[in-house]
């Protein structure tokens, strides 16, 4: 009996001291794929190298080797002469599923625009897995993406990283082990949405005051948990073998009340949740970097960053990525200074981390074309950017921004076999994915209806229309 109490107490203590069990866990399991040998390909590795006339072998969901090695006898052989292979493309900024097609009001689930701080909401709870946009993005070579809440709020909520595999549930798409993102927003959007309701924030200074107030609450929340966990730990260390001190510690130290909003914010302070900050203007981004120092957290990636080129050195020094568009500008005044060399200039400093993002159900289908435009502008400005460098913007750097670069984002042995076989150099308007693999499984093949997934929504439409 006494023994049982001890065990119970220990169990309680460990539960109290640890993070909650993972909520809404991934149920994605890659099916077994056929081993494939790609012969004689031009490979852009995703982390800066180009390999010509090179073989590549994929089996058991992983890249087994690049160059030379052993294969199993029944491996499928793909002649990749004159074809190019890149890592699967990754979009760090998508609203597929939360603003799906068709764009009807009842599917508009991307902004919980009812309060400026909604760190408690999770984009994944809005994702409609039947969005036809997922399969279109797959045909464009996208193998993983982060689905983010919108930018109406200062803290918009958690983003989720998905593998681009069709599923009935988002759990069936969830990238195993990928950290959550925290979507935050600078500038016009939050102050317009709430200022328009004569509610805070209505100014940029109101934006910053509200972020800081929220971080202060998160710090306090974290301190409460730290204090509680420490007390339980101390009691366990001083265990008199009866468990009485632990029991007493648990009784005298009521665990702090769990708060979903502060769970997210504290997770960002601890670095368990990666911060994705929608911000256009250079001066605002610098303000945010100072705020991050004040509260001791890291800004992982600035999104949109239309003026990021003005502070490319500061971004590189702080190890912050810029997830940017190739050519969007002028749709609002904080986007007035957009230039087509933005991505190339953010990529220029040592340690620069440039990413091409879409924020668009059209752009996500053509990340290679968007990167091509940015590469062209960099080269015309004299920056000398070869394809093996530019491909990082839509593969490895994107994986790094999402915290999944150990698993995917480059062609290296041991990594997930997330890859695209292109009909030609991908930096062209005429380039098309011929095959797309996710975890070594062929998930899309051009002109092959049996490997062109369709969402439930698309079935049975336009019956009677002549084809």
């Amino acid at each position: 009996m006494r023994h049982l109490i001890c065990v119970l107490v220990a169990l309680l203590a460990s539960l109290a001291a640890r993070a909650q069990p993972e909520a809404f866990p991934s149920t994605y399991v890659a099916p077994a794929g056929q081993p494939v040998l790609f012969k004689n390909a031009t490979i852009l590795t995703g982390n800066g190298r180009r390999l010509d006339e090179t073989d590549l072998y994929v089996a058991e969901g992983r890249i087994q080797w690049v160059g030379k090695g052993e294969i199993v006898s029944d491996a499928t052989e793909v002649d990749a002469s004159d074809r190019w292979i890149t890592p699967g493309l990754i979009d760090v900024h998508s609203h597929l599923g939360v603003y799906p097609s068709p764009g009807v009001a009842a599917h508009s689930d991307g902004n919980e625009a009812t309060a400026p701080v909604t760190a408690e909401v999770w984009a994944e709870h809005s994702v409609w897995p039947q969005d036809p946009g997922f399969s279109r993005a797959l045909a464009g070579g996208v193998t993983a993406m982060q689905i983010l809440p919108g930018s109406a709020n200062l803290f918009g909520g958690r983003g989720v990283t998905l593998k681009n595999v069709p599923s009935i549930s988002y759990q069936g798409m969830k990238f195993p082990g990928a950290p959550h993102g925290l979507k935050m927003a600078c500038g016009e959007n939050p102050k317009r949405v709430y200022g328009g309701r004569t509610q805070a924030p209505s100014t940029r200074m109101g934006n910053v005051a509200a972020y800081r107030s929220a971080w202060i609450r998160a710090q306090r929340y974290q301190a409460d948990w730290d204090r509680y966990n420490q007390a339980v730990k101390d009691a366990a260390a001083a265990d008199d073998s009866s468990g009485a001190s632990v029991a007493s510690a648990l009784l005298t130290n009521t665990p702090p009340r769990r708060n979903l909003e502060l769970d997210t914010l504290a997770g960002a302070l601890r670095g368990d949740i990666l911060v994705h900050m929608h911000c256009y203007r250079a001066d605002e981004m610098l303000t945010i970097l100072d705020m991050a120092k004040e509260f001791g957290y890291r800004v992982g990636t600035f999104h949109h960053g239309v003026e990021a080129y003005k502070i490319a050195d500061e971004l590189a020094e702080n190890g912050v990525c810029g997830a940017l568009w190739a050519d969007w500008w002028g749709f609002k005044i904080e986007a007035y200074d957009g230039i087509q060399e933005n991505i190339a200039l953010v990529d220029r400093p040592a340690g620069g981390c440039a990413i091409v993002h879409s924020d668009s159900d059209e752009g996500i289908q053509r990340l290679n074309q968007e990167a091509a435009k940015a590469m062209l502008r960099g080269n015309r400005a004299g920056l000398d950017i070869p394809p093996e460098r530019a491909i990082r913007w839509i593969t490895y750097n994107a994986a790094k921004s999402l915290g999944v670069h150990e698993q995917t984002g480059s062609i290296e042995s041991g990594k997930m076999a997330d890859m695209v076989l292109w009909n030609q150099d991908p930096f062209s308007v005429y380039a098309k994915p011929m095959q797309v693999y996710i975890d070594g499984v062929l998930r899309y093949e051009e002109n092959n209806p049996s490997l062109s997934p369709q969402s439930d929504f698309e079935l049975g439409q336009l019956i009677g229309a002549k084809r």
Binding site: W329, R366, Q369, A372, K373, A381, Y430, K432
Partner: protein, 422 residues
Amino acid sequence: MKIKRLLMVLLGSLLLGSTSQAASLLITNGLVFTGDDTPPNQLDILIEDGLIEAVASDLSTAEADQLIDAAGRPVTPALFAGITVAGLSEIGMVYEAVDSRLNELYTGLMHPEFDVRKAYNPLSSVIPVTRIEGYGYTLLAAAFGDRTISGQGSLVRFDGGFDSFEGQTIVFVNVDGYSGSKVGGSRAAHWMLLETAFSSLTTQQGNGLWLTHNEHPLINQTGRATLENARENGIFVFRANRASDILQALAFSQQHHLNAVISGGQEAWIVREELAASGTPVVINALDNLPGSFDGLGARLDNAALLHEADITLLFTSGETHNARKLRQVAGNAVANGLPYEVAIAAMTSLPAEIFGGKPRMIAPGLRADVVIWSGDPLDVSSAADQVIIDGKLDPMTSRQTELLQRYLPTEAGLGRAYINP
């Protein structure tokens, strides 16, 4: 070779900056797309006083004030930027700097007399941003919105002129589901209102026709005059994506003797036989391949190819104004999905002028010299405009964006970027 070419271009820019326009310009060794749907040829182009004087395989003996060796690079007529509000919208969400739309302040349901040309600003930063990417003209639109008729516009050239309008008056009509939901809750309301308005023209009623409901005029005298004139000399651009809406637009246009163009056309491929039979051109965004609304369930990437195969005249628009320069990428994607290359070139150069009544925009003797020398394939994302020539003058190839680049490209800034003034 490349340096020599650059020098000559630079020299041309200097000349342009320091003096008035050069009287003559010779472009040699261009891979010249004349602007129709024929394949390109290696040609020289002689330009005098803003007009194309000669196009031939060897004009090297011709005397000219300026020479550009195109060195085999493609040369096209300056491109069409699509249906835009360039010069009407400096910044999308700065509403006092946007003049493309008539809002609810003005009473009445239908105002075809609303003429956006009155608000056109050729000094908008959007114009050079677009022009230096190889674009010479656009169809200036009264923005599609929540009214049955948005207003009127026309072609406008990107030559910096305050009144560089061309061609026929274009009236913009919305018959899609979204605008229908704002007008009486049904797209059928559009046809009800249009039928009433056009019937009032034929019956020659004296005063404006009045709706009993709220006593709002459906259309006033000026508006009726606009419709009368446009029916005689203008074109009606119907915004429609759904197959059934396109057919209604065709039937209505036939009944009321309108020159019609369909804009949107996501499901045009479904009714391509009817479109072909009526000879109605279609303006599409060739990137549309998602069911963005229930009007576009049939959106598909090979729409352009299917319409062309059915002998339908095709144009492109991107739906963008600030990023209208994206349109050649749109056309390139149409080619990547089955549209013949030269057909896409014609759709991007001469055809829009032809359809909307502008002056011919080809590379041919006697025509205005609006041409572009490209670094490579003009429809590919891997190339850009090297030199834009408008009215025979070398464009300085500067915009607000090139000046920002010049300010931020240097790694050292001295006293600060504000002191780097290009």
